[in-house]
């Protein structure tokens, strides 16, 4: 993550035509090569916020700047060369008859040669583990498969900034993990800036640089995931919870008085923490005895 701000979001408020005030008082900077997550309960405004950041909704009060330029003054072309958004509902995103045609639509519009297009499409389909489905009709996919194709459609274009609305929703557990891993790699290796909205407290936060909690249209907390997930009560106020692993350790620590030094978020960390703490209880030599790592 570098210190250059790519997306500067200052939204005083945004109302839908039916007067629902979906977001308000947002002050959010997305830095270059940042991997940011937005966590929030249903109806908290995640989708709305992402759509505003993607330039799809313009009648908000405030401003959004993309690389310093007012997003409302940029043409769709200028925005979409840099920014890509994966919609929450795949049916809003897929439009071509077949998988191959859908995924190749972006690269074709970018003016690539046929071979390059085919190469990109194949690569993107491989990334989402759908290589064998190129010829299948879009309508004939399962929900999770559609979701994957949506993501492939953007991957094939190679955006610098990816906005993803619940990219892991509807994916199977292994797919979820692989998807996050893929995004992380894109972020680390290719320097793609990633912003994703999610409900997935258990898995997603582990991959993020920064986590923002959205509640009733406003950001109520932000920072590295370990700092954001503190007490369960805080979380349940905004209809969220701690990751299960964190909650287990939290309860062991606070209700059962086992003296954990910190609240881990991942299984690996939790293992280490438990071994260390149990070792402490038993005496310093214990972990070695059990060969724990």
């Amino acid at each position: 993550m570098e210190d250059i701000i790519r997306l500067a979001v200052r939204i005083d408020s945004f109302q839908y035509p039916d007067r629902t005030r979906a977001v308000s008082n947002i002050n959010l900077d997305i830095r270059k090569e940042e991997f940011a997550g937005i966590l929030g309960s249903n109806g908290s405004g995640k989708t709305t916020l992402l759509k505003i950041m993607d330039g799809l909704m313009k009648d908000f009060k405030g401003s959004v700047h993309l690389d310093g330029a007012d997003i409302r003054k940029l043409s769709p072309k200028e925005i979409y060369r840099k920014v890509g958004l994966v919609f929450q509902n795949p049916d809003e995103q897929l439009f071509a008859p077949s998988v191959f045609e859908d995924v190749s639509f972006g690269p074709l519009n970018m003016g690539f040669e046929e071979e390059e297009v085919a190469r990109r499409v194949r690569g993107a389909l491989r990334d989402v583990e759908m290589e064998d489905y190129g010829g299948k009709s879009i309508h004939n996919l399962s929900f999770g498969q559609k979701k994957r194709i949506c993501i492939a459609g953007l991957l094939a274009m190679g955006h610098e900034i990816l906005l993803l609305d619940e990219p892991t929703a509807g994916l199977d557990p292994m797919g979820e993990y692989r998807m996050m891993d893929l995004l992380k790699r894109l972020n680390r290796e290719k320097g793609v800036t990633v912003v994703m909205a999610t409900h997935n407290v258990d898995l997603v936060p582990l991959f993020l640089d920064t986590l923002y909690i959205l509640s009733k249209g406003s950001i109520v907390r932000g920072g590295p995931p370990e700092q954001v997930f503190t007490a369960p009560e805080e979380m349940s106020k905004v209809k969220l919870r701690l990751p299960q692993i964190a909650e287990l350790i939290y309860k062991l620590k606070h209700e059962d008085n086992i003296p954990f030094a910190k609240i881990p978020l991942t299984i690996g960390e939790a293992r280490r923490e438990i071994l260390r703490t149990v070792g402490l209880l038993e005496g310093p030599s214990a972990p070695e005895r059990r060969g724990g790592k």
Partner: protein, 253 residues
């Protein structure tokens, strides 16, 4: 909800009849009926309208990326609407509405000609409904005559402060009837051989009256239903199509 009451029987009838294929569609002229002279003539007659439509399409879609998809959508709608054979008990035959009324009202007559042309082309090629050689004639009757009649009637009525739904109803009816009169004429001219034109034209027209009279009314109701539904639920669309003024759009919930 009045729209529902109108739409329900209309479409139910249409839907049911989609299943019972007992069709002798009268509205499109079938492949091969017209002698080549007439076929070519109707192509020439509709060409300028198509060209004009293309120019309007270019203008309208400039800066509005959603315009062509919308035109495509209405084409699909016209395709489907004009595929619904509706049995007409009196005549023992079936016919179908044409749907150009609604597309003309929403998109204007010029682009509506394109809509009809595209829908007719797909039907001709994949359903043997209408035909490639008779495409020109069908574009002229359904696209040109239907669209322009529908549009002019609608705008005129609106000028006289007739309500949206009523204007759409009458525009839909007249668009349908205009199409049918033109089709009858084309058919008569095409098949008459050396028989006199006028009597044959009148005979064909009279033969189709029992079918087409109620169908036109059905189509009018469909058009009215769709327009008032859009008025209630998507006034923004009607404003965009310049059917109503922004202040006429009731806030939807």
């Amino acid at each position: 909800m009045n729209v529902r009451k109108v739409l329900a029987p209309t479409l139910l009838a249409a839907g049911c009849s989609l299943l019972t294929v007992s069709d002798a569609h009268a509205m499109h002229i079938s492949e091969g009926i017209l002698p080549y002279g007439w076929a070519a003539f109707w192509f020439l007659a509709s060409a300028p309208f198509v060209a004009y439509g293309l120019r309007r399409l270019g203008q309208a879609s400039e800066g509005d990326l959603s315009f062509k998809p919308l035109v495509g959508l209405l084409t699909a709608a016209v395709f489907i609407i004009s595929c619904m054979p509706i049995p007409v008990p009196v005549a023992g035959t079936a016919s179908h509405p044409c749907g150009t009324g609604i597309s003309a009202i929403l998109l204007g007559p010029a682009i509506s000609v394109l809509v009809a042309a595209a829908a007719l082309f797909i039907q001709a090629l994949f359903l043997s409904h209408g035909g490639l050689s008779t495409l020109g004639a069908n574009i002229f009757s359904m696209g040109v005559m239907g669209s322009f009649t529908g549009f002019v009637v609608f705008r005129l009525l609106r000028r006289f402060k007739v309500s949206l739904a009523a204007a759409a109803l009458i525009a839909g009816i007249l668009a349908d009837w205009a199409t049918y009169v033109t089709t009858s004429f084309e058919l008569a001219a095409g098949i008459r051989g050396d028989a006199p034109l006028l009597p044959l034209f009148l005979k064909i027209m009279v033969a189709f009256i029992p079918t087409q009279l109620p169908l036109g009314i059905l189509e009018g109701m469909m058009t009215a239903g769709m327009i008032s539904l859009l008025h209630r639920k998507r006034p923004d669309l009607l404003v965009k199509m310049r059917l109503i003024e922004p202040e006429e759009s009731v806030p939807c919930n």
